[in-house]
């Protein structure tokens, strides 16, 4: 069965299935030890999450992405996906165009990279065009600044398939597997909810509202629309929720039937956030298009950080691109808040009591928990709270938030075998 992804291209599959074939192919290759970000992006490229990309970008693609938000072939693409390396390492290892190198992650072989091009590119130019700023306090700018001073463009082939550890193993699906899941469930429309948070009722209502939008005119006697919760798994900082609490918190909403079994599923995707606001909203849409979703919800300040972007920039950018450039529809959503007059959590687009609104957010709820206050069940389901405390005990070394101990000692999201 043919699976068509972004840009009308077949979902990329650059995974070497046979370990013995992989072992032969990597023998004698020069090795480069890679970071977590590069490892995650190799996995994403190889399994087709970044279709039509087959590898890390060359200079021409980086240039057109920055200048026109497209690849050289004209396909919409907002964020450069680059392999960075230091000039010193290139010289030390004698890496040159035409080589194939072995990418090693945590001392294990992960992927090969065909060196099609070695180039330099002004990282400040990338920052300004993609992030809209060169301020070193912006986390995406910091990420760019920390990259090496050279880039290698070329195709990636995964030679060693990752083994996801519990509890993540049940939630990771490749694009092909995800599409098969949707077909099994009879879902005609799938609306993606991207999250890096333990769900509060605002998130829950975001998802429910988006379901209605995506379902649209479809008949309702047999439901054919699903919500895909797509939890971003990437770098963490002290104070963030632990990943296990995020994924299992969403799964708890499913198991305790705040969402019907036939209209909701939880998944994870590997991605290092750039916090690029509107351009990252487009990137996220592409990612979920490749997963087979038909719609993607966007709330206020999607992929934003601080005050670098207007809260609804990520909504407006979808009006600035040709409709045919993306085969996934954005669902743009305003805030949900608690209204004491309505007596419920309600939608700002419907409730006329804005003077009385009581806003709440994931950040506020984290503060409440830190103050040893259990949030009221109106804003945080008690089952999610109980799960949060269980995760703190089982995975978080006593805390539902990342601590130095968690960051240093946590079980890895995935592991690789020795080839």
């Amino acid at each position: 069965m043919r699976h068509v992804g972004h840009g009308g291209k077949e979902i990329v599959d650059r995974v070497m299935a046979s370990p013995s074939e992989a072992k032969d192919c990597i023998r004698g290759l020069k090795q480069i030890a890679i970071t977590g970000r590069i490892a995650r992006e190799c996995i994403n490229i190889a399994y087709g999450f970044f279709t039509p990309l087959e590898g890390f970008m060359g200079k021409a693609d980086v240039e057109t992405v920055c200048e026109k938000m497209t690849l050289v072939n004209g396909i919409l693409w907002p964020i450069p996906i680059v392999f960075d390396i230091s000039k010193e390492e290139i010289n030390e290892k004698g890496i040159k165009k035409g080589d194939t190198v072995l990418l090693v992650y945590q001392d294990k072989a992960l992927a090969t990279l065909e060196v099609a091009q070695i180039f330099s590119y002004d990282k400040a130019k990338i920052a300004q065009s993609v992030l809209g700023t060169t301020d070193a306090k912006h986390p995406g700018v910091r990420m760019l600044n920390e990259m090496g001073n050279k880039f290698i463009g070329g195709k990636v082939t995964l030679v060693n398939t990752p083994r996801f550890n519990p509890p993540f193993d049940k939630f990771w699906y490749t694009p092909k597997e995800m599409r098969e899941k949707f077909a099994e469930r009879g879902w005609q429309r799938i609306v993606a909810h991207q999250t890096r948070n333990v769900p509060h009722s605002g998130h829950e209502w975001l998802m429910k509202g988006a379901w209605f939008s995506a379902n649209g005119e479809l008949p309702v006697e047999k439901l054919q629309t699903g919500i895909l919760v797509s939890c971003i798994i990437g770098p963490k900082r002290v104070g963030d929720y632990i990943d296990e609490a995020i994924v299992l918190g969403h799964q708890v909403l499913h198991e305790t039937r705040y969402f019907r079994d036939d209209i909701h599923m939880v998944s994870i995707v590997l991605w290092d956030m750039r916090y690029a606001g509107p351009k990252e909203a487009i990137f996220h849409a592409i990612l979920r298009e490749n997963l087979g979703c038909t719609h993607h919800m966007f709330g206020r300040d999607h992929a934003g950080v601080g005050t670098y972007y207007d809260p609804y920039d990520a909504h407006r950018i979808f009006d600035q691109i040709p409709e045919a450039s993306l085969n996934i529809k954005p669902i743009r959503i305003l805030e949900w808040w608690y209204c004491p007059t309505c007596g419920e959590v309600t939608y700002s687009g419907l409730c006329g009591h804005s003077q009385e609104k009581q806003a709440f957010s994931g950040t506020m709820i984290r503060s409440m928990i830190q103050d040893k206050v259990k949030p009221t069940k109106l804003i945080f389901r008690p089952e999610v709270f109980d799960n949060l405390m269980e995760c703190a005990h089982e995975y978080g070394f006593g805390s539902p938030f990342c601590t130095e101990e968690y960051l240093n000692k946590r079980q890895p999201i995935f592991e690789l075998s020795i080839l």
Binding site: V238, G239, R300, D301, G304, G306, T307, P311, E335, Y338, P340, G343, Q358, A359, F360, S361, T363, M364, R366, S367, M368, Q370, D371, K372, V373, P375, T376, L378, I379
Partner: protein, 96 residues
């Protein structure tokens, strides 16, 4: 103006009751109690500079959240001592 939220747990509620300040806690979100300490933009900027782990939730609640526990405990104790919510300047003095 923005606010610093001190969420009222049982222990804090008892202390507020003891000094007759239970009524200054606001009822919010159908069953929660909070002390909202108001601060100016300059005071907000100073708090965020002193405590880089804290966050000003500019997108939704317009409040400073995620202050370290010891900072919030200090602020709460100043509220109890002064018997009012206008304690931000005393807080800055106490930590300088």
């Amino acid at each position: 103006m923005c606010s610093i939220n001190l969420w009222i747990n049982e222990e804090r509620h008892d202390k507020l009751n003891q000094v007759g300040l239970a009524s200054v806690a606001k009822d919010v979100l159908a069953g929660m109690k909070v002390l909202q300490l108001q601060c100016t933009k300059e005071q907000k900027d100073r708090v965020l500079e002193l405590y880089p782990v804290a966050k000003f939730d500019s997108a939704t609640t317009k409040s400073i959240e995620l202050l370290p526990a010891e900072a919030k405990d200090k602020m709460f104790n100043l509220v109890i001592k002064k018997r009012n919510l206008d304690i931000i300047e005393e807080f800055f003095e106490s930590i300088s």
